[in-house]
């Protein structure tokens, strides 16, 4: 299967008053057609920076991005516009990502109007189809965002993201702001849309159970780097990087008899202004040895997956 999106050595530095923050360092991954790849990690690990730089919402400082076989970064003007239609995003908070002063028909219709100049009755017809695809009836067309619940708003945001029939949808914490009962509806909808439209997803999430329920492959990020990647079942059932293990051990279980298995990770994230030498996880890692603090471990293959660790778990 060919890769729809190829990211190689992506790099992003933020220059701040206090110094340079290296937010993303040498991140490489592929997203293939009809595949869901999840990017997980704690706040500040760089996962949203990756998403935003893919969309050119921020400029990255190094590396390259190929989308549908074209060098996405070097495209200009019309070619760029065309290719960007195939890439879309759904944001975390449907309360802030929809303009409160626009009606639903304008929110969902705007991309089609801008990209194709669709107007009038045809536009309304297309918007109606888009809303129907996410399970919303035509009675909502003239309503405003405040008239909807969180789950419905997220459906509207998804309808807008799908308006130009993209091939790849970036989902930035799409259910984090929703109640559990609604979360399940949105996840089921995303799964159904993927089946029906042959979409690829890049899912950004810190909720490991959500990731497990819809993703095929997972990339674990820590402090700006990918530390482990592989299929969801491999990585979650048999993690090799101690950080992945620690993340999994931090998820509270609903089963009270599993209580003792909750093992918090000691310490805090290091300051991005003063990154530790070598492996960024070494100061919190029980397996850390001398070599860990010398040089950051490269991402190396272990069987069918990759981990960046000198002393991986298992095998």
């Amino acid at each position: 299967m060919s890769a729809l999106l190829e990211v190689r050595d992506l790099d992003k530095r933020y220059r701040t008053r206090h110094g340079v923050i290296h937010a993303v360092q040498g991140v490489s991954f592929d997203v293939r057609e009809k595949e869901t790849v999840a990017l997980v990690g704690e706040s500040g690990c760089g996962k949203s920076t990756v998403a935003l730089s893919l969309l050119h919402l921020i400029e990255h400082d190094g590396g390259r991005v190929r989308f549908e076989g074209a060098e996405f970064d070097q495209l200009k003007g019309r070619r760029e516009q065309e290719l960007r239609r195939d890439l879309s995003i759904v944001f975390q908070n449907p309360y802030s990502s929809l303009n409160p002063r626009m009606r639903i028909k304008d929110i969902v219709g705007e991309p089609m109007r801008t990209a194709y100049g669709t107007r009038g009755r045809e536009l309304v017809e297309r918007v109606r189809e888009q809303l129907e695809a996410v399970g919303l009836g035509p009675e909502h067309l003239r309503r405003f965002p405040h008239e909807f619940s969180g789950g419905q708003r997220q459906r509207i945001a998804i309808a807008r993201a799908l308006a130009l029939e993209p091939k790849l949808l970036i989902l930035d914490e799409p259910t984090a702001a929703l109640d559990v009962s609604v979360q399940a509806q949105v996840l089921n909808l995303l799964r159904e849309l993927q089946r029906r439209l042959g979409l690829s997803y890049l899912l950004i999430s810190h909720n490991l159970a959500t990731v497990e329920s819809i993703a095929d492959r997972v990339l674990v990020m820590y402090f700006g780097r990918i530390v482990e990647s592989g299929t969801v079942s491999e990585v979650f059932n048999d993690p090799r990087h101690p950080y992945t293990r620690a993340l999994l051990d931090s998820v509270p279980s609903i089963d009270p008899s599993q209580r003792h298995r909750l093992k918090p990770l000691e310490g805090d994230l290091p300051s991005p202004l003063r990154p530790p030498p070598g492996c960024a996880f070494a100061p919190r890692c029980a397996r850390a040895a001398h070599d860990c603090t010398a040089r950051p471990p490269p991402l190396g293959s272990i069987g069918s997956r990759e981990a960046a660790c000198y002393h991986p778990l298992g095998g």
Binding site: D179, V180, A184, Q185, L208, V251, P252, I254
Partner: protein, 337 residues
């Protein structure tokens, strides 16, 4: 062990608006015993946060509160602010969802801690500093002496939440009310806070009312749990009883909707319909429009709580007898339109 430290009886909270009145809490009952961690779960808008605010007399105007809330025997409802001083921060303390917003950005952690301590005790400066240091040590904040001189923006999210817990516990309250204290935190920090709260409850016999919508946190932390829906407690029992053999159809649905690690790519169950508008709550049992078991009686009368076994109570006309939970994917209704 059976001594009741926090007792809520028939609590009602209403917010009058111009053309309607929102009934946020409609006769909630809750009882938390000494040294117990009670979880209070429910979806947004079910009244769980308002119930918590009522424990400290903090319901914002124009909210009207009636019923009874007693904290260690002290009746809170109907008291003016000045009489509530010994309760707030003294008998009971509260920690909030977002520690960054709950702390004042203009003052150091030390100043904010000693202010609380000096409000409740006649300590001098040096003495209250000692108490503050001890409080920071008890929550395992690294380098407590340095932390005293820090401003909130200089600490990480996890450190701030520890500082807020230290502030809440500095005057040795009987009850800690925790309103979603881990929701804004990363899982790794959430796990640290869960373990810390459990340790504090064990070591000091602290009573905790823990408000959350995360059933995983309930399973990992709480002794008992109350499930709230549309302003009422619909089920209460030990964590094991409620999570393993839920009796109320709402509790069952809620449990079935949670994606659990280890379940793989399974289709998720969801609750059809929507949380009711509390200005116009449904007649009878508020859950009946979304309930598979609803019958004509459910639309007419709101069920009273009844005992199912030792300390397990449910308010439902057609409660499940216990046993297996609903398998995910078997009980889907039509998607909400």
């Amino acid at each position: 062990m059976s001594e009741e430290v926090l007792a809520i009886r028939d609590l009602r909270i209403e917010f009058p608006e111009l053309f309607r009145t929102v009934e946020a809490v409609r006769g909630a009952d809750l009882s938390v015993r000494r040294g117990e961690i009670m979880g209070l779960v429910g979806e947004s808008g079910c009244g769980k946060s308002m119930t918590a605010m009522a424990c400290l007399g903090l319901v914002p105007p124009p909210g009207r509160v009636s019923g009874h809330v007693s904290v260690d025997g002290f009746e809170v409802v109907g008291r003016p602010d000045r009489e509530l001083l010994p309760v707030r921060g003294g008998l009971a303390a509260m920690i909030f969802q977002n520690p960054g917003k709950a702390l004042n950005p203009f003052f150091t952690i030390g100043r904010q801690l000693t202010d609380v301590i000096r409000l409740h005790h006649r300590h001098g400066e040096r003495e209250s500093r000692e108490v503050a240091l001890e409080a920071l040590r008890s929550v395992h904040l690294p380098d407590p002496e340095i932390a005293l001189g820090r401003y909130p923006h200089q600490l990480s999210g996890g450190q701030l939440q520890r500082a807020m817990i230290a502030m809440a516990l500095a005057c040795e309250p009987k009850v800690l009310i925790a309103d979603e204290p881990t929701t804004a935190l990363d899982v790794t920090i959430q796990a640290q806070v869960i373990v810390l709260l459990r340790e504090l409850a064990d070591a000091r016999g602290l009573t905790i009312l823990f408000i959350t919508h995360d059933l995983g946190v309930v399973g990992s932390l709480c002794d008992r749990v109350s499930v709230m829906y549309a302003g009422r407690v619909v089920e209460v029992g030990s964590v094991r009883d409620v999570l393993e053999s839920p009796a109320h159809p709402y509790t069952r649905k809620l449990l079935a909707t949670v994606p659990k690690l280890g379940d793989g790519h399974s289709e998720l169950a969801f609750i059809p319909g929507q949380v009711p508008d509390m200005a116009f709550p449904p007649s009878g049992c508020a859950f009946h429009p979304r309930c598979e078991r609803a019958s004509p009686v459910c639309t007419k009368s709101d069920p009273d709580g009844r005992d199912l076994g030792a300390m397990h109570r449910v308010a439902c006309h057609h409660a499940h007898g216990g046993g297996e939970t609903e398998a995910p994917g078997t009980a889907n209704g039509a998607p909400a339109r």
